[in-house]
Symmetry: C2
Subunit: 540 residues, 2 copies
């Protein structure tokens, strides 16, 4: 039950706020203050008079009414605090960052149930417990660092089952310039699950202000239908979604179960669900970051990539990765290619990869990009790989790249590999709201994955009613000797599930075969039915 009090509270109280920034209740308050929260901010701590410059209440009873309460107190005190806040202070939203609930033991589970029942009784939202909190445009309600710069234009919404994984992903993502619009830590998520956050993002989607991409780290998909519905809906609105579903192996599933109490989902089922919804499937933080970085750029709408570089080796590896993943690096030749070649140093190659050599200049890069944007119609997108051997700075090159990425209609993906030699220039580049792909092959794989993750299955098709009675009756029919269903029975099931299959007729003589052929049309295949195996009589 997500409400506006949870995501856009007019007032917040931190229960268990502290002056010690090494404590969760201290860092939480600190983050809210430094995040410039504009509503009324209260703190409760029985042992303090003033916490981080804010007057401290000794008890909940003394507080004025407050919309959102963030609880950083031992688990056993949480249910009563929620009851008091909801009953006497009209509090309608809670974030419980405390641990020691259902993830711990049966006793904790009872506390969690009690707490959730209380929240439900008062129609209040309850995020967590065992979570790091929420970061959005309205407040920075987490007890962890770093807090990324929030950006709804090019940043992604991030929903995570695991708080630490959210932190580690933000840390790694920020290194390459990935931006975030909001972060939702689910924790045990018994009242508000990852699917619920997704549903909320879908229902409140606004073409102007909402983020255009969503990434998720999931250990459990408790409500697959809900995930499917809202992911499909968001994607059909132009949002792009990628997710990790961890715990795919038996061992990993045991690990997930001890971590957040997640139930196992089969990896096959997850992949099928993601494919149906149009979600890009990822297996690691790094993959998810790469895909999210691809999302932050213009959408790839065709297969033909121009690889533009001054460094041959990177171009070779990238070209291999793209070709292996099903994208093309089409050969460029003819009049336009020859024309372009004239602008480049002797020895350059424009046959794609477009290699303008170690001596290539910023002006030449600009010209190459102009040719790919305006003259090579077959090119759908560009990857520019440009590092530095350490002889001179490459700021002018990155300035050209920066402008071209802004104005070109075709997507341009930057690989800036010189993390040492061009550290300063890469920082400049990232400051322009760009994301960098330090490894060309990682980018290549992410591009292929995003390109080949299709659009969601048509909603009408999803809601086809299936005659389960009829299917059940077929399954209950007597089987063949070997225990298999007959071909005829299989066909009934396929037809009921609206799974298309080739037309077929049984013909026992030439005339029947000819008449069936006319009905089916060509091309067709004749197969042998009988005791002899098809291959023994030259059949197929």
């Amino acid at each position: 039950m997500i409400n506006s009090q949870l995501l856009n509270p007019k007032s917040i109280v931190v229960i268990g706020a502290s002056n010690d920034l090494r404590k969760a209740g201290g860092k939480m308050l600190h983050n809210i203050i430094t995040g410039g929260y504009k509503g009324n901010l209260f703190v409760v701590n029985i042992r303090e008079r003033n916490v981080q410059g804010i007057k401290c209440y000794k008890s909940i009873q003394e507080l004025p009414n407050v919309e959102l309460a963030i609880l950083s107190i031992p688990a056993k005190y949480c249910p009563q605090a929620i009851e008091d806040l909801a009953k006497y202070k009209s509090t309608k939203a809670f974030i419980v960052i405390s641990a020691g609930f259902s993830e711990l033991n049966e006793e904790g589970n009872k506390l969690e149930q009690l707490m959730i029942n209380t929240a439900n009784k008062y129609h209040a939202a309850l995020a967590g417990p065992n979570c790091i909190g929420i970061i959005n445009q309205n407040y920075h309600g987490v007890f962890t660092t770093p807090i990324p710069v929030l950006d709804c234009n090019s940043g992604c919404d991030f929903i995570s089952s695991s708080g630490a994984t959210a932190v580690f992903l933000m840390e790694a993502g920020m290194q390459v310039g990935l931006r975030f619009a909001s972060v939702y830590s689910v924790g045990n998520g018994n009242q508000i699950s990852a699917e619920d956050y997704l549903a909320y993002l879908d229902e409140k989607f606004d073409k102007q202000s909402s983020a255009k991409s969503i990434i998720m780290y999931l250990e459990n998909i408790a409500k697959p239908q809900k995930l499917l519905k809202h992911a499909s809906s968001l994607i059909s609105k132009g949002v792009r979604i990628a997710a990790i579903k961890a715990g795919t192996t038996d061992a990993g599933s045991r690990a997930a179960s001890s971590h957040t109490g997640a139930m196992a989902n089969s990896d096959m089922a997850t992949r099928a669900l993601f494919r149906k919804a149009g979600i890009v499937y990822c297996s690691s933080r790094e993959e998810l970051i790469s895909v999210a970085s691809v999302f932050s750029y213009k959408k790839l709408t065709g297969k033909n990539i121009a690889v533009i570089t001054h460094a041959g080796g990177s171009a070779v590896m990238l070209t291999d990765a793209l070709a292996q993943g099903g994208l093309n690096v089409p050969k460029l030749e003819g009049k336009i290619a020859d024309e372009l070649l004239e602008y480049l140093h002797t020895g350059s190659s424009v046959s794609n990869p477009i290699d303008f050599l170690a001596t290539g200049t910023a002006e030449q890069l600009g010209i190459i990009i102009d040719y790919c944007e305006h003259k090579f119609d077959e090119i759908d997108a560009m990857v520019v790989v440009f590092g530095s051997p350490g002889l001179f700075d490459v700021e002018n090159v990155y300035k050209v790249l920066n402008v071209k990425m802004d104005i070109c209609k075709k997507p341009i993906f930057p690989v800036l590999p010189s993390l040492v030699n061009a550290a300063k220039e890469i920082q400049y580049f990232l400051s322009k709201s760009h994301v960098n792909f330090p490894d060309e092959v990682t980018l290549g794989k992410a591009l292929c994955e995003t390109y080949y993750t299709g659009t969601p299955t048509d909603e009408a098709q999803m809601h086809t009613t299936i005659n389960t009675e009829k299917i059940r009756s077929v399954l209950e029919m007597p089987r063949e000797k070997n225990g298999y269903l007959s071909v005829a029975a299989n066909n009934i099931i396929l037809d009921e599930l609206k799974i298309e299959r080739a037309k077929e007729f049984l013909a026992t003589n030439k005339e029947q075969a000819l008449s069936a052929a006319q009905e089916i049309g060509f091309p067709l295949v004749m197969k042998v039915v009988g005791p002899v195996h098809k291959s023994d009589c030259g059949g197929v």
Copy 2:
């Protein structure tokens, strides 16, 4: 033709040295000087009197004798310079960093051939052209930065077809603490190829002083037999080798051809060669860095991994990656597990992953590692994932980890994901000659790859002489109607190639079948030979 003058020269001259550090001849000299080269260093530049504090000769004629010459002058002047140096100054080794040779055009190709013929005439080594140079313990002979800290104990030798790729790989590798023992840039490599450097490392291998791992970036394997021989030999001496062979796809191969003039090698053939030699196959700089990082630690000798963490999500993803790659995260239970659990905070799990919670301490990490090292006999290695939510520093944790990695017999692989929150502590950790794996899944995949890349095929087996005549005669025998070879003909070929196959006999009655069974021994399989397909009469 690699000689001591190339790798350990008593004197070096830089032809085309410059005071401008933005020029290759300037940066090259600068690197040699700042690298503390101990031999005699000379420079030649017709327009200078003093270059970077060194007296400058106007021509080669004025020089004293010199062992190694590094040429940073236009391609067209190189052949004559080599002739003069070899003939009058007894120069026995050359590094040509200039470009404009066979990679450029036919004219350049002729220059290159002329230059190589000259070098060969004087029995001189010629590295390059079109390369960045050589870095080893004796001198820093490259015109690029960064120069890694060289370390023969835990660093790797690095052979690269591409200079820029070598730079980018060093830059990315240094971020995670990867160390290098030497770097050889091959360039066009017509006299000294990547295989030649490998052969040299093999022939001069010294158990005390040689690096124990080698990484390679290859665009061309011109001498596969040589690669196989020396890679196998090195690996049998305890060295570990990983390599990228780029240009595996048609498009990538075209890219490689325009880059270094490499010929296509089939990816299947490369993989087979690597498998036979025991080389770990990699597809990206990032993979190669991860595998080289694994090489820098103790060797994994068994499949059972303990995953130790305070961050559940990372443990789940890592466990998935290990299980998918064929390694085990075995469940830990029983008396010892219960005993360990008592030392940890309530709510911790020791069932593997060993999750000691966000509140886990450095002391607890030490105890867990002690248990895995000394008490859980089934555990072969440990991965420790430990980051920071930003509440307090984790220096004491990394100190414990540092000591344990030093003293434990079982390998310990560290995943320190908090690139922002624990940036300072990670730097401390890397300063202790450790490598970090920022992404747990990337480590998991590299561990599986290295574990499952077997030892080289037995040398005796490699040198089995094959009766190609006999195989040819079988291939030329009349085929069956369908164009296939008969089973009997296949068997002759398999036997000639010493490929083991199951024993088989044809039996046409019960007695023959029984007698054949006695000869073969059990278990055995009976298959039907004849016109009826095996499945039609209940056969297998």
